[in-house]
Structure formats: structure tokens, C-alpha cells
């Protein structure tokens, strides 16, 4: 079976691309009432117009997707694709309208947890810390590296999940499980912590070399390392990040006035 035959009936490639591009605006109208409901309906609208004639059927389809919806914006592509898979079957009388509502309700929570855990809590810190850690070596190119590294994964997975939803419908869950995102996330979090530690040491050496000179340089390096280590411990004792930041600045200003 060719890829074209697996796509939902009644939807051209052009419409499917439009839905994907409009899904990039999923959170444009985020609101506390329906959360991503406006974005979901906005993204699906070209496909719904292609599937249903103007009139009560189209209106009912739009209203189905104006109901509460919230998930991780990247993995929403899988639900969008799956929703189109179901809407195509509903339009052709093969399914009841409640199937798409049940599909969205069943998947938005678990996929949100998966997306939050991998993208927000693992990939973003890892790529951020790695790029920040490379600033001493490659300067502003690290910014470009950040965008490329992150978006190769982000846009690649976003498109792939949309495709899986479109072609597999409910079976996309098995495919998503096969990607093993939680296991990869743990590795990325370790990388983020390692890069942060490396950068702290670099900052301490830099301070000693640039500000201290031969006599007070090693002292400043040691002080900076101690400050980082103390801050790490203190953050576990209910000291806020802002408190630690401003306190360190105060100490440094005092030291600068005395040296």
C-alpha cells in the first residue's frame, strides 16, 4: 500500500499541509476556559471544510473541536493527525461522532506528560546547557547550534507524530511508545547537569585569570567555586534562586570594593 492510500479519505495533501502549518498556532488563543481549544479548531478547520458540506454538519464538527483541549504543543500533532483520521471516517459514515471526542480525551493527558517530560524537562535543559557550555569555545555560534540541535529533534518529531496520527489513528500509541522518550530524557538531564558543572568551573577560572592577577587570582577562583557549590546546596534548603543570585552579587561587589 502506498503512502498516499494510507492517508484519510477526502483530504488532499495540500489540506494536510495546511493543517500542520496552522497547528504551529495551537497556543495563539490559549485561554483558561478551553486552553488550546481555539487553536485546535483553527488548525483543523481547512480539513473539516473539505470533509463536510457548509451547514449543520460542518458547524457540529467545528463545535466538537471547540471543546476543552490541552496537551503539549509539540505532541499535539499526533492528536491532530488522529482527529483527522477519525473525522474522515465520521464524514464517510464509518464511525460515530463521539469517537473523535473520546480519542482526544484519552490521549491529551498521557501525551502531555510525555511531551513535558521529554521536551520541556529534558531536551530543552540539555541543549541549553550544552550550548551555554560551548560559549567559551565557539562564542555566538553556540546560539545557532542551540537552534539547530533543538529544532532537528523538535520539528522532526512534530512532523513524524502528525504523520503517525494521520496514518495509524488509535494505533499511534504503540508507535509513540516505541520511540522510548522517557529513557532518552534521563540521559539528556544528566548531560544538562554535567554541562552546568563544567561551565561553573570555567567561570571560576575566568574570574581568577581576568580579575585577580597573580596574587588574588587563585583566591577568587576558589571563592567562585565555593559560591557555586554553596548555592547548589542552599537551593535545596528553600533558598530561592533570586535570593542566591542577588546575595552572590552583593558579596562580589563587596569583594571588589575591598580588593
Amino acid at each position: 500500500m502506498s503512502a498516499g492510500q494510507m492517508l484519510p479519505a477526502g483530504l488532499s495533501r495540500g489540506v494536510l499541509v495546511r493543517v500542520f502549518l496552522r497547528s504551529l498556532f495551537l497556543q495563539a488563543g490559549w485561554n483558561p476556559l478551553g486552553m488550546q481549544n481555539l487553536g485546535m479548531a483553527y488548525a483543523l478547520y481547512p480539513a473539516l471544510r473539505a470533509l463536510y458540506p457548509e451547514g449543520p454538519a460542518l458547524k457540529a464538527a467545528v463545535q466538537r473541536h471547540l471543546a476543552f483541549f490541552n496537551t503539549h504543543p509539540y505532541v499535539a500533532g499526533a492528536i491532530l493527525g488522529g482527529a483527522l483520521f477519525h473525522e474522515s471516517r465520521i464524514a464517510h459514515g464509518e464511525e460515530d461522532a463521539s469517537s473523535v471526542v473520546a480519542f482526544k480525551a484519552a490521549l491529551m493527558g498521557p501525551l502531555a506528560a510525555l511531551g513535558d517530560g521529554f521536551f520541556w524537562l529534558s531536551l530543552k535543559p540539555a541543549v541549553g546547557a550544552l550550548s551555554a557550555g560551548l560559549v567559551p569555545l565557539i562564542g555566538a555560534w553556540s546560539v545557532l547550534l542551540y537552534l539547530v540541535l533543538y529544532n532537528v529533534v523538535h520539528l522532526g518529531l512534530r512532523a513524524r507524530l502528525y504523520w503517525l496520527g494521520l496514518t495509524r489513528g488509535d494505533a499511534l500509541v504503540e508507535e509513540v511508545a516505541r520511540v522510548r522518550l522517557p529513557q532518552r530524557g534521563a540521559l539528556l538531564r544528566n548531560l544538562a547537569a554535567g554541562c552546568a558543572g563544567g561551565l561553573a568551573v570555567w567561570a571560576a577560572f575566568l574570574l581568577g585569570a581576568q580579575q585577580g592577577g597573580a596574587q588574588s587570582g587563585p583566591l577568587l577562583t576558589a571563592g567562585c567555586l565555593l559560591l557555586g557549590a554553596l548555592a547548589y546546596r542552599a537551593l535545596g534548603w528553600r533558598v530561592t534562586r533570586y535570593g542566591a543570585l542577588y546575595l552572590s552579587a552583593g558579596l562580589a561587589i563587596l569583594a571588589g570594593a575591598l580588593i
Binding site: 498556532f25 541549553g128 534521563a186 538531564r189 547537569a193 554541562c195
Partner: protein
């Protein structure tokens, strides 16, 4: 075509042009962060470096962004919870730092001062985003009503209207941050040397604390161990480099 504003020489961009560029960048990044794409252009490292580039001092943007990237590394929008608006902190701090030095590149003392003054902008941004949700709630109700009345195109358009308020609000606040930098240019130039020296020392000190925040925010199971390992490797590399330079 000129991509960045000129910072030194005879043709320095006028102050209003600098504020407009800062506001435009701040507004666009607020959209990218919340409403469109989320491709991490709004992360502090990228946002601040971009601001530095546009205002003509890339290095200042890069180093302000580096510090704030680490400081906010663990922040994440989970469910309906909003983290500190690290983008606003980065755009305002970098713009203020660049504009504090009217005739050239900003010094590390200015980087520190701008982070201390604008770093708290993250909380302001979070409150602003929360406040704007009232507007998008109104739009959501309007969309529901329009759909019930059969005006489907009108209902769909409501999704995009919310972006205007987001863009405008953050553009204005970023301009205020940049304006603070312009206002402080003269007082900062008159600061006594010991204080400037202390502010310069504050940058690496804050960077160390931010790195500690990043290690903590990484949520790695043994974050301390991994951070220590990373630090040890960098220390060995730096010692080896010093030794090879010495011989």
C-alpha cells in the same frame, strides 16, 4: 541592507530607533514563546544574543543571555502553570546593558548591573501573561458564540486575535527596559572605580550561582554527581591547557 544598529562612530542610531528595534524584537519573541512555533528563539541565550546583535553589541547580548539561560534552565510551562518569563528578563536585560554604553561595547560591570535591575523582569512577564488571559478568555467566549450562530470563519479568527495584545504588551515592556539602559548611561559612567570593579566581579559570581541553579534545574537523578563530573573534566582540561602553554 543594514541588519544591526550602529553603536559607535558618527552614525549612531537615534534613541527612538534603538527603542523601537528592542520593542519589536521583544514583542516577536513573546509571540514565539507562547503563541507560535516555540522553536526556542525565545530562550534567553538566543533572545539576548539576538538583541545584542540588533542593537550592535553581540558580545554583551551573548554574555547576558548565557547567565540568564543557566539561571532559568529548569523553568517549564507545565499544564496551566506559568514559569518566570525568562524571555522578558533576557530581552530587557540585554537591551539595557547594550544601551548603557552609548559609545561602544558594554563592560562586564554593565552586564551585571543590567541583570540585577532587569533579571526580576521574569516575574513581571509572568504576571503580564496571566493578565492577558482575561482577554483570550473573552475571545474564546466570542468564538463559541460565533460558532453557535454559524459564523465559523469569525469563530476561527479569534484564535489569532489574541496575539496582538501579547505582542503589544511585551513590546512596550521591553522598550521600557531598553529605556532604563539609556537613562542609566550617564549615572553608570560616573560610578566610582571600586563599585565598577565589584560589579565586574559580580558577573562570574552570578554565573557560578546560575550554573548551580542549572544543575539543580536539570532534574537529573544525581545532578550533583554529574555536575561535579562536568566540572572536573573542565578543570582538568584548563589545567592541561595552562601547562601546555607554560611549556
Amino acid at each position: 541592507m543594514r541588519w544591526a544598529l550602529k553603536r559607535s562612530g558618527a552614525n549612531v542610531a537615534p534613541w527612538w530607533e534603538q527603542l523601537c528595534v528592542a520593542g519589536l524584537w521583544g514583542g516577536l519573541l513573546a509571540l514565539e514563546r507562547r503563541a507560535f512555533l516555540q522553536a526556542m528563539f525565545s530562550r534567553p541565550l538566543v533572545a539576548a544574543t539576538g538583541m545584542g546583535f540588533l542593537l550592535g553589541d553581540l558580545q554583551t547580548g551573548l554574555f547576558v543571555g548565557l547567565l540568564l539561560e543557566l539561571f532559568h534552565l529548569g523553568g517549564a510551562a507545565l499544564g496551566a502553570a506559568l514559569p518566570d518569563h525568562d524571555t522578558l528578563a533576557a530581552t530587557t536585560a540585554s537591551a539595557a546593558a547594550v544601551l548603557m554604553a552609548p559609545d561602544g561595547d558594554a563592560s562586564p560591570a554593565m552586564w551585571s548591573l543590567s541583570v540585577l535591575l532587569c533579571g526580576g523582569g521574569g516575574g513581571v512577564g509572568r504576571l503580564l501573561e496571566r493578565g492577558l488571559e482575561r482577554h483570550t478568555s473573552r475571545l474564546a467566549r466570542l468564538a463559541q458564540r460565533s460558532a453557535e450562530e454559524g459564523e465559523l470563519r469569525r469563530a476561527m479568527r479569534q484564535n489569532l486575535w489574541g496575539m496582538w495584545s501579547l505582542f503589544s504588551a511585551f513590546a512596550v515592556v521591553t522598550m521600557l527596559g531598553a529605556g532604563l539602559g539609556l537613562l542609566l548611561a550617564r549615572p553608570v559612567a560616573a560610578l566610582p572605580d571600586p563599585l565598577l570593579n565589584g560589579l565586574a566581579l559580580a558577573y562570574p559570581a552570578m554565573l557560578s550561582v546560575s550554573a548551580a541553579c542549572a544543575a539543580k534545574g536539570s532534574r537529573a537523578r544525581q545532578a550533583g554527581y554529574w555536575a561535579g563530573l562536568g566540572g572536573l573534566l573542565v578543570a582538568l582540561w584548563m589545567v592541561a591547557r595552562r601547562l601546555s602553554e607554560g611549556t
